[in-house]
Amino acid sequence: MSQHAVRPTPASPTPPDGHLLEVRDLHVEFRTGEGVAKVINGVSYHLDPGETLAVLGESGSGKSVTAQAIMGILDTPPAHISSGEIRYSGQDLLSLAEEQRRQIRGRDIAMIFQDALSALNPVFPVGWQIGETLRQRLGMSRADARRRSVELMDLVQIPGAASRLGDYPHQFSGGMRQRVMIAMALAMEPKVLIADEPTTALDVTVQAQIMDLLADLRRDLNMAMILITHDLGVVADVADRIAVMYAGRIVEHADVRSLYRAPAHPYTKGLLNSIPRLDQRGGKLSTIRGLPPNLMRIPSGCPFHPRCPYVQQVCVDVVPHDLILGDGRTSACHFAQEVRDDRAG
């Protein structure tokens, strides 16, 4: 692997080389009329073939912006990538020309979005939309593209695929539309699939169907998946590793089991405690006090300190680095070990 890295890379859970996809110390800001919003402040994560990484965070945490930076679909302006690297198979995507990125987008890394109705074009039949990639990128004939589209629709389990090729997006239910979008994403057999809140707009029984489908496809096609979500239940069901984001940073990174068993960042702990449980009836829910920060005025030191029950003076003064906790776990908290071992909180 070449030595392009000039900046020192922050602590990473595993050795930096040899990952399928790697984001290193990414910084993104949005330059607006009202000021500069620091949306991503040094995000690093990696993805290996065949694994599922969940990126969890609330609105404004930067989880989708990171994904859009990987895909190269950020709106610039207002977005501006101020520093960092995004490496796919060792190649820095940010140093590539747009035409070269286009080759990778869709073919190697594909993405599905939350709202399938607005992500699909309402005036073209779905068969045409699935086939578009095949005709444009692979130079397939119309007939071949049609045939392959039916195969893809079968793959995502759309009943009566051949007869639905000519239907328009509005003629499909929410779950079926999401399947159409997955079929489009799979057209080029990508190595990495980024799923941005793929089931948030769907009902719970349909959500279970789509998450099953994604898990099966990921296994059968040996894809790696980045699952962006705010739903702690969905993460627990499907993810191998999890990165928790807050105010444009990854505050905790761990394998799913250890994180749910003993969260090592006060924010993660607060989130896990504040969700009502289906299998438990509860009294008062514990809450995280206050509000997420305004990204134009991120608090000094640890960005979570105004809301944190463990806060000390050092949290106000010093930005915490990723503390390595072993087993590939990191936590950006000055008191990570204490928080992890404090089972009461």
Binding site: E58, V235, L272, L278, D279
Partner: protein, 342 residues
């Protein structure tokens, strides 16, 4: 402080009584000579009671009619058939002054705190607007004080009375919506997905607020949501809806631990549990296909097209939500039984 909107009644008695309420939206064809060609059966014979001080959760997936039901109860839609009484007053027959008095007693919190507040009105005007319609609820001179009191009750700074909605976050806006619903001191509040637009950490704050207000003011809630965990947390009793009907109704334990309707069982099994160790032990019931169109629901039991227990009788006979021998609570299934193994 003004007197409560209606005479106080004994805790635990039935406050709202809903009987076989039906709402069909006509499907028409033609522009000038509209011809009715069918009907979307949004709510198709729903009955339940709400007792004083209790929370009735209503769960169901999109299109099951839960929001239409809320709009019917608020008299924002006219029912096709059915009866409902609120504290003994006929809800659907009322008009004029009588309707105004009923409405004072039942208020609503909407789902989307971004679109349910007028961006051109100050918070004080938004919360005080109910007093314009019901001037008897608060004398003009003391309104400002009452509004500030309401802001304080929902955990907002009373000094922010002259701010506009855009100056507040999503969770704070939902608090404004709750303050507006409380303004007339109603006994019943219909909450239509009040926390589904909020982030997890904010959602808990609003749920806690609703529970505190219930304890302090003795409110009754109809709590409509699609998030099963939230509904379990807040509800005393729960009604599960599917395609315009209540398929099962019971106490929180009866529905979540001893569900007997196949749809309820499938719905509960599909909800993700935030515990990776539960991954292997969960047995998800996978339903086939999608919810059928309410314009053309299946004959007999509405759920039979997706049900693994369906027999011939399910297509011909509509199962009533009644107590059966094997049944601890009403469940609208010919083959209602506990799920084997939990």
């Amino acid at each position: 402080m003004t007197a409560p909107a209606s005479p106080t009644t004994v805790r635990g008695e039935t406050l709202l009584d809903v009987n076989h309420v039906v709402k069909h939206f006509p499907i028409t064809q033609g522009v000038v000579f509209k011809k009715k060609t069918g009907a979307v059966k949004a709510v198709d014979g729903v009955s339940f009671q709400l007792r004083r001080g209790e929370t009735l959760g209503i769960v169901g997936e999109s299109g099951c009619g839960k929001s239409t039901l809320a709009r019917l109860l608020m008299r924002l839609e006219k029912p096709t058939a059915g009866r409902a009484t609120l504290a003994g007053r006929d809800l659907f027959a009322a008009s004029g002054g009588e309707l105004r008095r009923i409405r004072r007693n039942m208020q609503m919190v909407m789902q989307d705190p971004y679109t349910s507040l007028n961006p051109r009105m100050t918070v004080g005007d938004i919360i005080g607007e109910p007093f314009e319609i019901h001037p008897e609820a608060s004398p003009k001179g003391s309104r400002q004080r009452r509004i500030q009191e309401l802001l304080d009750v929902v955990g907002l700074n009373p000094e922010h009375i002259n701010r506009y909605p855009h100056q507040f976050s999503g969770g704070q806006r939902q608090r404004i919506g709750i303050a507006r619903a409380l303004a007339l001191r109603p006994e019943v509040i219909v909450c239509d997905e009040p926390v589904s637009a909020l982030d997890v950490s904010i959602q808990a704050q609003v749920i806690n607020l609703l529970e505190e207000l219930q304890d302090e003011l003795g409110l009754s809630y109809i709590f409509i949501a699609h998030d099963l965990s939230v509904v379990r947390h807040i509800s005393d009793r729960i009604a599960v809806m599917y395609l315009g009907r209540i398929v099962e109704i019971g106490t929180e334990d009866e529905i979540y631990d001893r569900a007997t309707h196949p749809y309820t069982q499938a719905l509960l099994s599909a909800a993700p549990v935030p515990d990776p160790d539960a991954r292997e032990h969960r047995s998800i019931i996978r339903l086939r296909g999608d919810v059928p169109s309410p314009a053309d629901p299946p004959s007999g039991c509405h759920f039979r097209t997706r049900c693994w227990k369906a027999q011939d009788i399910c297509a011909t006979q509509d199962p009533q939500a009644v107590l059966r021998a094997a049944d601890p609570h009403p469940s609208a299934c010919h083959f209602a039984e506990l799920r084997p193994g939990g």
